[in-house]
């Protein structure tokens, strides 16, 4: 039996958490004397009032049931996206109701797809809120709430079960209550170090913070119209690339590397494979770009590295307009948009680990055809993958492909061209951001019809919540 009042109480906490960041954004607007102050302050006040209300009535809970955790997780994301659009919509400018919702969903799901044609016209307070949505969405609003609230163990583990995928849990070699702390340590350390480095390399402190939020959350929102290309600084690009890669690797492995443990990035075979695939992609695209005289080899390597890493890690920051690159390069970049980062990181999409296991599972099935009585186990980093998990991965991949296929069909039915429809679908469900065609790296999603924007927003949420959770909630609601 699901206790609605408990769900409402925790949704209230989520609102309070949003109110805190809205208030910080309002302070920035206040210091800058900007037009967004009222919008941010009002949104913060609304969130705080609505968030405090359930806290007053609902008594403290000793334990949270799994279904309640699942409902809070899914509804929490939806609620966050809805309240996140409030300051945008109140402020106005390019933000219509649909655009504000799209931008909010894009931020919280760390997609980084934007409807803004002129990002630099936004007041700093709103720019900070935009980056803060990515920051909150990076590790997930629920994990953030868990960090702040001194909740009972029963409550924490329920949330943890609902929010973190089984595959991700497997790679953490510690108890669940320590995992939240590990994720937070890695997340904040990466953000702080990157901010310092970017500031040192010439970015303003504000831009450095916003870009660090964007990079470590693998989101892709920039404070500049030209994204990272605006700085035209190789060292800034190198730093951003380094942190994009780190943020797309399992945080447990990053933590192990940081603390000098054996089970680190370099000891993990899938991680090594992930890095190798990226290197191969970079080399192939660089060779083609220099061969077809787009750039000299040095420049080709520079731009190809950034684009491949940005798309493969689902970040979506850009330094070049890859829409005009040769078709082979575009197809390779599309592959990276589908492949995405690794589980246990801030990256979205299918995740490389699943593709790795899928390939090994196919291999296992082939061996079973040849030796029907053989016993073969699917392994990842010397750990046996249970059959249920293997099946779950297969179902996930099928659902994922089915979802972006359906989205592509629906988008083309709205009159959107094939390239834009396909790449917008894979870029939003993978939480990558930029696609090709109209929604290319130097374009945006503003020209798409409103219905398409809602469809792609749903795609982003499905991608972020890894599809199954949303379907499970619908099933739960249906049964009730």
């Amino acid at each position: 039996m699901v206790r609605n009042r408990v769900i409402i109480k925790y949704l209230g906490y989520i609102l309070l958490f949003n109110a805190l960041f809205l208030f910080i954004s309002a302070l920035i607007s206040l210091f800058q004397r900007e037009s967004s102050l009222n919008a941010l302050l009002f949104s913060a006040a609304m969130c705080a009032a609505l968030g405090t209300f359930p806290y007053l009535f609902v008594e403290k809970v000793e334990e949270l049931r799994f279904h309640e955790g699942l409902a809070i997780s899914v509804l929490g994301w939806l609620l966050t996206c809805i309240v996140g659009m409030m300051p945008y919509y109140i402020w106005g400018g390019e933000f219509t109701f649909t655009n504000a919702f799209f931008e909010s969903v894009s931020g919280f799901t760390t997609t980084g797809a934007s409807i803004l044609t002129d990002v630099e016209a936004l007041p700093k307070g709103l720019l900070f809120w935009r980056s803060a949505t990515s920051f909150i969405g990076g590790v997930g609003i629920i994990l953030f709430v868990l960090l702040v609230l001194p909740e009972k163990k029963g409550v924490q583990s329920s949330f943890y079960r609902a929010e973190v995928s089984d595959l991700s849990k497997m790679s953490f070699r510690t108890r669940s209550r320590h995992i939240v702390r590990i994720i937070a340590t890695v997340y904040f350390t990466l953000i702080i170090v990157e901010t310092i480095l970017l500031k040192f390399l010439g970015m303003s402190f504000f831009d450095a913070v916003c870009h660090s939020f964007s990079t470590v959350a693998t989101a892709g929102f920039s404070t500049k119209n030209l994204s990272i290309a605006a700085y035209d600084n190789v060292w800034i690009e190198v730093v951003v690339m380094f942190f994009m890669v780190l943020s797309s690797i399992h945080f447990g492995q990053v933590y192990a590397t940081m603390t000098g443990k054996k089970t680190n990035i370099f000891s993990s075979r899938p991680t090594r494979m992930y890095l190798l695939v990226m290197i191969i992609g970079i080399v192939l695209i660089s060779i083609q770009l220099s061969n077809e005289a787009f750039f000299n080899f040095g420049e080709s390597l520079r731009y190809a590295s950034f684009q491949v890493i940005s798309l493969a890690t689902t970040t979506g920051l850009v330094t070049a307009d890859s829409s005009v690159w040769p078709i082979f390069s575009i197809v390779l970049l599309c592959y990276f948009t589908i492949q995405c980062g690794m589980v246990g990181s801030t990256a979205g999409g299918i995740k490389f680990d699943r593709i790795y296991l899928f390939v090994h599972s196919v291999h296992k099935q082939l061996k079973l055809i040849l030796h029907p009585n053989g016993i073969y186990a699917l392994k990842m980093d010397k750990r046996i993958i249970e059959y249920e998990l293997e099946l779950q991965i297969m179902v996930f991949i099928i659902l994922y492909i089915f979802t972006f296929f359906v989205t592509t069909i629906l988008l083309t039915a709205m009159g959107i061209d094939g390239t834009t429809a396909f790449t917008a679908s894979i870029a939003t469900i993978g939480n990558v951001g930029p696609g090709f065609g109209e929604v290319g790296s130097m374009g945006n999603y503003s020209s798409l019809p409103n219905v398409a924007k809602y469809l792609l927003s749903a795609n982003m949420l499905l991608g972020r919540l890894e599809i199954m959770n949303i379907f499970a909630l619908f099933m739960m609601a249906g049964r009730k």
Binding site: L41, A45, M46, L50, F53, F57, K60, M86, G92
Partner: protein, 259 residues
């Protein structure tokens, strides 16, 4: 954790009041800003536009005065020229007092410069006591082009202020939207708030009352304690406990031998 239902209710209704107050204050602030913007448009851009129009009008009259002078109506021509000059100088002073745009000082300085040159060429004709043919030739050679140039600079000032006025009107439109937004969102939030309040009242007021009523209806002395199934620690729990105390006292009294 607050236990009293009375305090919970008072606090939650206070929250609603605060929410509506914030919305009202925000709306008022935005409306005040909107009023300031309208006032700004009228005070600054509109005054500059008026000044530019006066300049344009006077400039044309000065030119007509000069032409009158050339064709022989010298007295009326000279009077028109002097009257127009006074109007232009006064309009220029008004425009200088109303500098609100970045480019405005440059435009005013261009007008002053252009007009000074034009007026000097007019004075050169009328004070030089030229013959009509000579005056016409001087006008065609020099004054005419200076007149058009000055007119262009006045026009540029007019255009600048008109553009700014248009931009201001867009800002005002945006502000009016912003002023309405808090009211709209508060309305939605208030509805949500009311629904939540109704839900909590149902859970924490009606449900305990119903449970207590049912448990009283089904109570018989052999049961011992009255169990209303109240899990909260609020006034209803106190009521349940007091009922149990009352039952205990009544049972005790019943068990006592009668005197």
């Amino acid at each position: 954790m607050i236990r009293s239902l009375q305090i919970k209710l008072v606090l939650s209704l206070s929250l609603l009041v605060v929410m509506l107050l914030v919305a009202a204050v925000m709306s008022m602030m935005e409306f005040r800003n909107m009023g300031d913007s309208v006032k700004g448009v009228l005070n600054n851009n509109f005054s500059s536009i008026e000044a530019a129009k006066r300049m344009m009008d006077a400039l044309e009259r000065e030119d007509s005065g000069l032409l009158l002078w050339i064709i022989g109506d010298r007295e009326e021509g000279a009077q028109t020229i002097h009257a127009s000059q006074a109007i232009i100088r006064s309009a220029l002073r008004d425009a200088e007092k109303n500098i609100t745009e970045t480019d405005e000082p440059r435009h005013i300085s261009d007008i002053t410069e252009g007009y000074d040159a034009y007026h000097a060429s007019v004075l050169f004709i009328i004070e030089g006591e030229m013959l009509p043919e000579e005056a016409k030739e001087s006008y065609d050679r020099n004054t005419k082009s200076l007149f058009f140039r000055t007119k262009e600079t006045v026009n540029a000032l007019l255009m600048l202020n008109q553009e700014q006025m248009y931009q201001q009107s867009e800002i005002i439109q945006e502000r009016s939207r912003r002023a309405m937004m808090p009211a709209f969102i508060s309305l939605v939030a208030a509805v949500l708030f009311a629904l939540l309040l109704f839900y909590f009242i149902r859970i924490y007021f009606f449900r305990p009352v119903k449970k207590l009523t049912e448990s009283i209806r089904e109570y018989y002395p052999e049961k011992g304690r009255l169990d209303g199934g109240i899990v909260s620690r609020d006034e209803f729990k106190q009521l349940e406990e007091e009922m149990n105390n009352l039952i205990s006292r009544l049972l005790w009294r019943r068990e006592q031998p009668k005197d």
